[in-house]
Symmetry: C2
Subunit: 199 residues, 2 copies
């Protein structure tokens, strides 16, 4: 048998993650059957579970992958930009491109739903979601260091505030409510964490 | 047959609403079977559906009743107070008393979930949820009139902002995340809509 290269393994992993992301976004966790996952990824169940063990682990890997990409956006542009990216596709439908933020919304919604209904999932997720919180706090600390952030409120409170608004945006979009009135509200959010000029 | 008084009808209606509120909060819409609704209200299915037609109409009446009570709190104390009330029972479990805000959370969550998954419900709900939005805007206008509210942002934007945060609080609690870090974040929310002293 030929030796499988690391590049090949990574590419296969990526193919499974991107395909199943659309599938979970479209059908939800329970609705994303093994057959549908096969169709969405173009791979057999054997190949899928060779890489990810079981459906639960696949979903967690996916959610972790999304949280990690959100953390990258946070690090460079802040959490409010993550929210603005979510508004790009207000219908919450998946886009053709697996990289599209609307698919993050799908995963994020499934995470929210499972956190509500499944205590075991809650425990497994807690460890994996820390990166986003850390990225948010790091970004806020850097913004504070260069004088862009208000300095009368602890960074932890500002981070909790921003995460609360993010949850609100996710929920708002998930309910199919119009997104066109959200941009000015997000301007207000951005302003409320910013350092205000004196005088 | 004796003539049934309006008071008696109202009391019976209230008994059904309060009992089924706990039932929906505990089991969710699908899980609140007719048998469970009978147990929770202490009434027969015949009596329940005599007053509310069917389960869907009962749930809508309940959600409307909650939105109306939330609107009363908003009118007197503002939407941030509604959010603080939700924090009283951070575990999201129903309280013994049917009037408890934690039961509003249960109904609100079911509304959120059904808005996501059921387009027909979305249309029926839209008409009924307006009262809360109106109450929020009215309260903001009155606050502005007495100089307590910032006047550089339209009332509609402030209302959209507050509703976004409310959704975030509901979602946060629903996911079973700790509520103890939310109070300072809500202070920040309150401050960001308030009129700031000059000088």
């Amino acid at each position: 048998m030929p030796r499988v290269s690391q590049d090949h393994l990574d590419a296969r992993r990526r193919q499974i993650l991107d395909g199943s992301r659309s599938c979970f976004a479209r059908f939800g966790y329970e609705g994303a059957t093994v057959r549908r996952l096969e169709e969405a990824t173009g791979l057999s169940r054997g190949a899928i579970f060779h890489h990810f063990g079981d459906k639960e682990s696949l979903f967690l890997a996916l959610a972790e992958d999304d949280a990690s990409r959100m953390a990258d956006v946070v690090a460079e542009q802040g959490l409010v930009q993550v929210m603005r990216n979510l508004l790009v596709r207000p219908d919450g439908q998946r886009a053709a491109d697996g990289e599209h933020p609307a698919d993050w919304l799908g995963t994020r919604l499934e995470v929210s739903r499972r956190l509500r209904t499944d205590p075991d999932f809650r425990a497994r997720w807690a460890k994996r979601s820390e990166r986003l919180t850390m990225a948010t706090r790091d970004r806020l600390r850097r913004q504070r260091a260069v004088g862009k952030l208000r300095d009368d409120v602890p960074v932890e409170v500002l981070a909790a505030y921003l995460e609360l608004v993010l949850e609100g945006v996710v929920s708002h979009l998930a309910m199919g409510l119009p997104a066109d009135d959200l941009d000015p509200a997000l301007d207000l959010v951005e302003e409320s964490v910013r350092r205000h000029r004196r005088g």
